[in-house]
Amino acid sequence: MSTPKPKVAHPSLPRNSLGLTRRDYEGGMSTLCAGCGHDSITAAIVEACWGLSLEPHRLVKLSGIGCSSKTTAYFVGEAHGFNGVHGRMASVATGANAANRELTYIGVSGDGDSLSIGLGQLAHAMRRNLNMLYLIENNGVYGLTKGQFSASADVGTKSKKGDANTQPPVDPALLALSLGAGFVARGFSGDKPQLVPLIRAGLSHPGFALIDVLSPCVTFNDHEGSTKSYAFTREHYHPAVEADFHSGAAADFIAPAESISVDYREGEEVVVPLHDGSHVHLKKLDPGFDTSDRAAAYAYIAAKLKEGQYVTGLLHADPAAGGDLHAANRTSATPLNRLPFERLSPGAAKLASLMARYR
């Protein structure tokens, strides 16, 4: 029996500008395996939505199929939601976006859902610069179907039974950089001080934002020999814009312009004061690294991957990047649900005249 999370809360739970607490942004009780990284990401999404004071009814949650895709049921219970078919979340998101550009869209998918069956969908969503946050909960396996290697499994990583993977992985961050995404980041489910600000930033980015979140599958991919286990990820993840992990200090998202304006020397940790008086520790990237330079970011990440390091943090941000889906398709600026019935359905006479053009 799964116990519902009781509605009791800490008496001094803070409220956001809407008067809501973090608990008001929760959804149903998770049915994932205990210890799944995806649940931690859910908690980070809850925290980020609360922190942005998003109105729950103005959020749209979209997903495909997989353990990761199930998680949209576990946050912001009062938001809109659509659980699509496997690998087809991007199409649903495109349609929804075309129908109503005023809402905030968050898509949650898995490495199987997005990099195997749904790779074509993901690529075109990026190409169109769909205004959404697209979050890949990346565990290197198909968790829901019992742990087969996915397209993100590294060469040489071992399955639970001991077989090694031989096919090269698709790296979502490199993919996004090459397809022109305007916001590319990588996080880790076990590092919320970094992940929460990334999600807040991704939700705020005007255009397509991709966050690849390393999210260990505790049941099928957390053993020795796996390159996506908790232990391996902790040893090999390389924070680029690192919030102070050890103190767990609540950090806000730092705009890229601010982060590179700090003067630091190679290999140094730098303390950046925030507007509210708190601060964030940043780990310096290679000299000359510039988060607005797509090519440099690509080269850096690829080089680090070769060394077996996953670079995390904000990797590339360019608010001006990409096309405009709405301009290209001349979508309605007014959400369809607010158009008068006559405009949505012009009637039989209009249809007849339209058809006449093709006769």
Binding site: S2, T3, L13, R23, A231, G248
Partner: protein
């Protein structure tokens, strides 16, 4: 911080707030689960082990456990712990076969207990089964002490007293009624007793020194008057009654007055409500019966004419408060309140006219005996005090605890062992995990509010003096109330080497009482907790360094609601829910604790 030593016997005990707050450390969550399972007799026996008088205490205990109850931190009202105790007592089967008896072969030691109140009776309860010949001397013709002579029968019926006191006498104690001890010297002199326990209470009502006090026999001392009512010597009172004082004795005086024919009863308080000594529930009961409580009235004089009381004069006061304390007071007027009787209920004192001062039993300058707060021994070896006689008026449950501790001392004294060495408390833990998301106890959080105990209708209550007002919970209420208990004795136990730092427990905890963070000083860690601490006196749990990052797991025990979700969500059982059983040592035939409850299956 250093890793917390949870092996220390008080660590997990403290978490069980009610049990920790109970002077006798009654295992509350265990008996509530037993009630939930319909095992009323078992629930009664768990109670009896520590508090000896579950039926009595289930009605009139001062309930220090309830303000401590964890439920009161997440909701306004605590679990109705006391009323559930009564449910167990009312619905149990005959327990005669479950009680220990004096062994056929006595141990040859003789103990005298002075007074048949709860303190002495507890000493008898603990020592008779060990083979001691215990003689209880009582000056009156009835047992129970203040429980019978002062607590009115409409709160505590005589048959409940008879039954539970009878259990103890029935074990094989010798009871001498109408046998006042007039000289301790004489009692000790013959060498007939190996130890003496003084449980004679605090029988003297405090006087009020105002003009007119001694000019009429219609001015009464509260505890003497209640005594006279209990024994039937007083059967009526005037129409208008003033009670001076606002403690629990005052509450019993005003409600008894109503039952003896008073029409208008006023309780006169010197200060405002936040300073009242009476329990909230007693105030509520009195007010619901129509008693008026007047605040800020300071008694000046009793006005009499021809030996009759006609009224009482008060100064009306005003206070300035700062931080809940009075910083200044002013007289703003004077008021004469007409009345026919005045009852003084402003406190009690000890009195030991029968203890000679040359016996080596020393008293301080307020005539209070010098008693060791741990051993309960006086300055004369072999003479012990307990209950109200030891440190002044307290309540029944403290009297019981004093009795238990004195019994341990007496047992050691009679074996020639030092009384200052006490048997240790202990804790055992046993996992409650049955499978994935499967626990052998119910950890659903039930949001129901505290149930209200049904009362006899107002009109019925006053017909007879001894109609018990509270009816006890009905089955539906019981079923809901037991589910309000958070099972604080099902502990969250952490095993640091198992943790893979997946965050699942941190994310699920509804009250944010878990944090993984770098180690540091207590102040540093406190500043980094996911939710702020509310009670800085409640200790933080800090684990050993975790494997992957070297951080520590920190838990604020004060906030935890024992929902078990951390353990349910933990992939490695690093968090586990384990039932703790605290063993509270009593006088036993051998000195090792933990041998109680050998036969009963725990709930």
């Amino acid at each position: 911080m250093e890793p917390t030593d949870t092996g220390e016997p008080d660590y997990y005990h403290r978490v069980v707030d009610c049990q920790w707050a109970c002077p006798a450390h009654t295992d509350v969550p265990e008996y509530i689960r037993l009630i939930a399972q319909g095992r009323f007799t078992d629930a009664y026996m768990v109670n009896r082990e520590s508090n000896v008088f579950p039926g009595i205490l289930g009605r009139v205990c001062d309930r220090p456990c309830e303000p401590a109850c964890r439920r009161g931190r997440v909701e306004e009202k605590p679990v109705a712990i006391c009323r559930l105790k009564r449910v167990a007592a009312d619905h149990r089967d005959d327990i005669a076969g479950l009680l220990p008896k004096a062994p056929a072969q006595r141990n040859g030691k003789r103990i005298a207990c002075i007074g048949a109140g709860p303190a002495s009776l507890t000493v008898a309860n603990d020592l008779v089964p060990l083979g001691y010949a215990v003689t209880v001397y009582e000056q009156y013709g009835l047992t129970g002490g203040l429980m019978r002579t002062n607590i009115p029968a409409f709160r505590l019926p005589a048959d409940v007293l008879d039954d539970e006191i009878g259990q103890i006498i029935g074990m094989g104690a010798e009871l001498k009624l109408n046998a006042p001890v007039k000289s301790l010297k004489a009692l000790l002199g013959g060498g007939a007793y190996d130890a003496v326990f003084v449980g004679s209470g605090a029988p003297k009502g405090k006087e009020l020194d105002v003009p007119g006090r001694n000019e009429s026999n219609r001015v009464h001392l509260g505890i003497d008057w209640l005594h006279a009512v209990a024994f039937g010597h007083v059967q009526s009172i005037g129409a208008r009654v003033l009670i001076i004082g606002v403690g629990n004795t005052a509450m019993d005086c005003c409600r008894s007055s109503l039952r003896l024919g008073a029409q208008n009863v006023k309780v006169m308080a010197r200060k405002s409500r936040e300073f009242f000594k009476a329990s909230e529930w007693e105030l509520e009961d009195a007010e619901s019966e129509g008693v008026e409580i007047l605040v800020n009235h300071s008694p000046q004089a009793i006005v009499t004419a021809d030996g009759k009381v006609t009224g009482m004069l008060f100064k009306v006061l005003e206070y300035d408060l700062a931080d809940g304390r009075i910083v200044a007071e002013r007289t703003v007027g004077e008021r004469l309140i007409p009345c026919d009787d005045v009852i003084l209920a402003i406190g009690q004192e000890n009195a030991f006219p029968w203890i000679e001062r040359d016996l080596g039993v020393e008293f301080d300058r307020w005539h209070v005996p010098k008693v060791d707060p741990v051993t309960f021994q006086s300055t004369r070896a072999g003479v012990f005090f307990g209950g109200d006689a030891a440190f002044g008026p307290k309540n029944i449950i403290w009297a019981v605890e004093h009795g238990h501790q004195a019994a341990i001392s007496i047992h050691r004294h009679c074996q020639g062992l030092p009384v200052t060495e006490r048997p240790a408390r202990g804790v055992t833990l046993a996992s409650r995990k049955m499978g994935i998301r499967e626990w052998s106890y119910k950890n659903d959080y039930n949001p129901v509010e505290r149930r209200l105990v049904p009362h006899v209708a107002l009109a019925e209550r006053f017909k007879k003096l001894k109609i018990e007002v509270e009816l006890g919970f009905n089955p539906e209420q019981t079923a809901l109330e037991v589910q309000r208990c958070l099972n604080c004795d099902i502990q969250t136990v952490f095993t640091a080497p198992l943790c893979i730092e997946c965050d699942a427990c941190i994310d699920i905890c509804p009250v944010d009482c878990l944090t993984m963070t770098a180690n540091g000083t207590e102040a540093e860690i406190s500043g980094r907790l996911k939710a702020p601490r509310r009670d800085l006196t409640s200790p933080l749990y800090v684990s050993a360094a975790l494997k992957q990052t070297g951080r520590v797991m920190v838990k604020d025990e004060d906030l935890c609601v024992h929902c078990g979700l951390c353990a349910e969500r933990c992939p490695t059982a690093a968090w586990d829910m384990q039932k703790s059983t605290v063993s509270i040592p009593h006088a036993t035939s051998d000195e090792t604790p933990c041998q109680k409850q050998a036969t009963r299956k725990s709930a």
